[in-house]
Subunit: 332 residues, 2 copies
């Protein structure tokens, strides 16, 4: 009974305030949550798991771990053009976990909730030696519209939001595999690693303005996730290395450090940018989005019918010479 | 990449067949699942986690572990009167997990899906030393109706479905804490422990026929879960020990074994029966349900306004003497 009591205290103290008293949460006092939809809406759902020492370290701290968990899960909603609504939390704990950690974890969730208009509506808590956390996230989108990785067409242009590889450089810096002397740059890369920005606004506009029918978020790596589009849409991609958007900060690191290449940045993961495809005649609408969202949206190539049905990516350097892709993505 | 490839093979081989090609699953090729509802429906959602060595042993086998996971999660839907629809699976694996285990795990899910009309629509797979599994389950119910633990009223009768304590006796037998010589009895208790029957049909009828407004499933123990009703409804309960329904098999064990009491059976968990409350004038309708569902529904007492606002359970023996409840429920 004492464990159960502890569990109730945990929920009351830290998690109940995260419901924002929304009806769907049933005050977290029932075993179920309840969601109603408007007539023309569909529910968009994604579930993510994060495991200690694989996806996070306890030394990252509760605020950071919770933020990344929720932010990366929101990125799945962004790739479907959905508006965030609610989430369920699966929370594991053990005797090594402090109340401070849980309090910071809840604060991390709160900060992301406030930024994206989310509320907690339920979940489960358990004990485990190796900690793990799980989010099931819910968003809504118009029933009649569909943004999915299998919808690209022959001749579509391939766009990428923001910049690629910054999160990877953050991780490399943490692991002492690259030295980043400039403190402002270091903070930039670490923020990109720990606090990715799910491109919710972008996804919503791509969907509602009919600019794109096909998107994916970059979690495994630019090449790996573009390959998912190729395979699902049964097309091949031709992209140009020098068009892949890198941040000013990343370019500086590449100049100074011969061990890291632009290629490495595109075969790493955790960028949580969107790759999306656009009919050529709609490319002007993408330019308008760049101005509206104040977000870089860069065309890196286009999709083509595949003669050999291999649905591959051809990567070209600045001299139009084909570069072999030895590694597509990130392994956890 | 190899891990990721393995993950895709795992999904294609074992999990894709579980989608029954339903639209919501998007063929498991997208990061999101999509659910649409009819105008008068609401989505009922529950999330459960199970951790190795706490909620299951690997020696239980994949079929049994998956069955119990999905069956106990379905029980949450039953308590809300919902009709099962879909689920998301969180699946962890490590190098010790065999393909045979995963195949049996998938077969376990399949058997429950077929029995209750469910399909898999998405999820996530990760690696972890200590294994864990997570289900987010979805059902639908009429928007206008509501079965919840906080809806009981003063004077309502308290009913329990089926029998209480069988799962506990199964667990005690497994742990060699009670000897059950009769093989048929042993199988009965083990089946009740490993393969609980979520009372979906009962929950649906309580809701749609307006027989009850308040229900909970017995996962923590009869006393513990009835106490949840008391606290949420702000009422006290008066119940009678000798009315608590026990199976013929359980009564035999109690007769033979002085170490186990009827009290123990009601303070254990994992029964997955429903406790529900009914206005006195509707008790005839419960009798009709017993005949229709061929399921025992037993009145064990009633709910009363609480003078001291303590919202407690008073348990009486056959001589109307109050028995102190020293332990309410089960600790994992």
């Amino acid at each position: 009974m004492s464990k159960k009591l502890e569990e109730f205290n945990l929920i009351e103290k830290f998690f109940q305030p995260l419901t924002n008293s929304c009806e769907a949460a049933q005050n977290l006092s029932d075993d179920v949550a309840k969601i109603s939809l408007k007539k023309d809406e569909q529910l968009i759902i994604s579930k993510d798991l994060m495991v200690q020492d694989s996806h996070f370290l306890m030394s990252d701290g509760g605020f950071t771990i919770a933020s990344k968990l929720l932010r990366s899960n929101l990125s799945d909603l962004a790739s479907a053009g959905a508006t965030p609504l609610h989430y369920l939390l699966g929370f594991s704990k053990n005797s090594k976990i402090s109340e401070k950690f849980i309090s910071e974890f809840a604060a991390g969730l709160k900060s992301v909730q406030d930024e994206f208009g989310l509320s907690l509506i339920g979940g489960d808590t358990v004990s485990s030696k190796q900690l793990f956390f799980s989010i099931t996230i819910f968003g809504v989108a118009k029933k009649s519209k569909n943004l999915a990785r299998g919808n690209a067409k022959d001749g579509d242009l391939i766009f990428v939001s923001g910049s690629i590889g910054d999160a990877y450089l953050g991780l490399q810096a943490l692991n002492n595999k690259v030295e980043i002397a400039d403190k402002k740059s270091l903070k930039y890369f670490l923020d990109r690693h720990f606090f990715p920005t799910p491109r919710i606004n972008l996804g919503q506009r791509l969907l509602t303005k009919n600019i794109s029918k096909c998107a994916i978020d970059v979690s495994d790596g630019l090449f790996a996730d573009l390959k998912h589009i190729c395979e699902s849409s049964k097309l091949s991609a031709e992209i140009y290395q020098n068009k892949i958007p890198l941040s000013v900060e990343a370019r500086k690191i590449l100049q100074k450090n011969s061990k890291i290449s632009a290629f490495d940045l595109s075969s790493a993961g955790d960028d949580y940018e969107l790759i999306f495809t656009v009919e050529k005649k709609k490319s002007k609408e993408v330019e308008a989005l760049v101005r509206e969202l104040k977000l870089d949206l860069t065309c890196i190539g286009e999709l083509k019918n595949s003669a050999n049905k291999k649905f591959e990516i051809s990567l070209f350097d600045e001299k139009n010479k084909k570069i072999k892709i030895k590694k597509y993505g990130y392994e956890h």
